[in-house]
Amino acid sequence: MPDTFFYATEVMLNGLMAGVMYSLVALGFVLIFKASGIFNYAQGVLALFAALTLVGLQDGQIPFSHVINAIFGTDLHNFGWTLPAVVAIALTAVVMVGMAILIERYILKHLVNQEPIILFMATIGLAYFLEGLGDVMWGSDIKKLDVGLPQGISETIETATYNWFGYGFFIDKLDIVAALVAAALVIALTLFSQYTKYGRALRAVADDHQAALSVGISLRFIWVLVWSIAGFVALVAGIMWGSKSGVQFSLSLIALKALPVLMLGGFTSIPGAIVGGLIIGMGEKLFEFSIGPMIGGATENWFAYVLALLFLVFRPQGLFGEKIIERV
């Protein structure tokens, strides 16, 4: 019996770790939604694009090589050098900022004061465009991403827990790193938003556009800023997911898993995104472990959505979201 208990605990811990990944993606959604009321469907693709760019830069892959080869009959593939992980990550961050500038310049600027649904449609378009662009630039084969993060089961934890409880817990080192990185990211974002002038400007814009303009905040600058931060968060998510399961185009689908996370946590709350991600990650693993065998398994595919549906019925603003009160 104690073994079952420990096993359940282990399943729960692994679920929590998986939840961190969901949280990372959901975090990007919340940032943009809070500041601009845009539900950014492209957040998952941003993570994919960031991961693709990172691998491409690291391996010295020539962008658009397929297209160039097809047109000029050349046989280009690589520059012939590899970049250190840190340099490649920094360059990718710069690319994500450039992307934010382009998105503001060519999409958002032209859609000011449009209905949220129009902006949502625009981000769907953006998602497919970026997916295509990533494909054309870097090719569509699955790539291995290795930025030097520790991989595999942590033996220290296994031995330590075995000595304490007589049961060795299997925890992936990468998951622990992901949890630490996510925690650091949240702390950094909170400090930035609470104690710097740009953070304050960001909160001001999220609260009231007109008032923000009147105190001298440029909305266009804020859009670029918030999309840059979301791009950076996407990069972090892309690194984690990519290191775990390789950089492949199904990465963009994690955006869909972030949706129930947001319904649970609330669309406007950063802690909500984190807690929501953890609950979903833990919940689906535990459910699969306990109820799954009785009903034929594969519950992880739908559990998150059913949970989100329940929340929509009983607490539509999510755990941490602002309660919507319409004055009549």
Binding site: K197, Y198, A204
Partner: protein, 274 residues
Amino acid sequence: MNMQNPDGYTTADGRQIGGVMMEMKNITLRFGGVAAITDISFDIREGEIRAIIGPNGAGKSSMLNVISGFYVPQEGEVWFRGAKRPPMKPYQVAGMGIARTFQNIALFEGMSVLDNIMTGRLTQMKSGLLAQAMWWGRAQAEETAHREKVEKVIDFLEIQHIRKTPVGRLPYGLKKRVELARALAAEPKLLLLDEPMAGMNVEEKEDMSRFILDVNDEFGTTIALIEHDMGVVMDLSDRVVVMDYGKKIGDGTPDEVRNNQAVIDAYLGVSHDE
């Protein structure tokens, strides 16, 4: 003759009013086919309290929105300190040292009073994004310096007791005061107040009048305000522009305006076939 302000004048209570700070020349503003403002010209002098009055729908708020860059007029020119101002976005106007409040209060409801007022300092903050993000020394020192200025404004407007309160929880009169504080925190050259006393009771109105006078007196801030309450306007302002149906029907000292027949007609209503 006043040698320091050759263009200016001295008020009855001995304050020195300077030369022209802002000049509106033949402003016309239309929404579709409807003219909100038709061919209006007036000026605002350094250090004065200038009022814009008129019945509902006269175009007063539209005029304030033109000054603050929220509306761009179809015709006319805006001159600020001797230079013609190109069409500007509201945030750029704010950067020039023109702060404003709104008729319907536009505060950041989810933020504390202190944070709201701190946003007023944004135009004065110089350190860049990277320094801010990295929390390097200069950015931190700057934050402290701005915080001191903000505390002074808070003391000045007597809102110490609500500094940490989220604005959304404050009663209406205090919200108005916080909005004024946010505008003052920018240390504006020109302060635009859109109906600062609308919806207030007598006591609150007296407080607000006192604050407006003190701001003008102690900081030398030039103020342009819109107000419905005639009594308040006449007590506060040095000169008054009167608008009706988007046109200017009077301009002068409170006494001059009070005795202007067109103004009396507009306010009391007069049938036009007399």
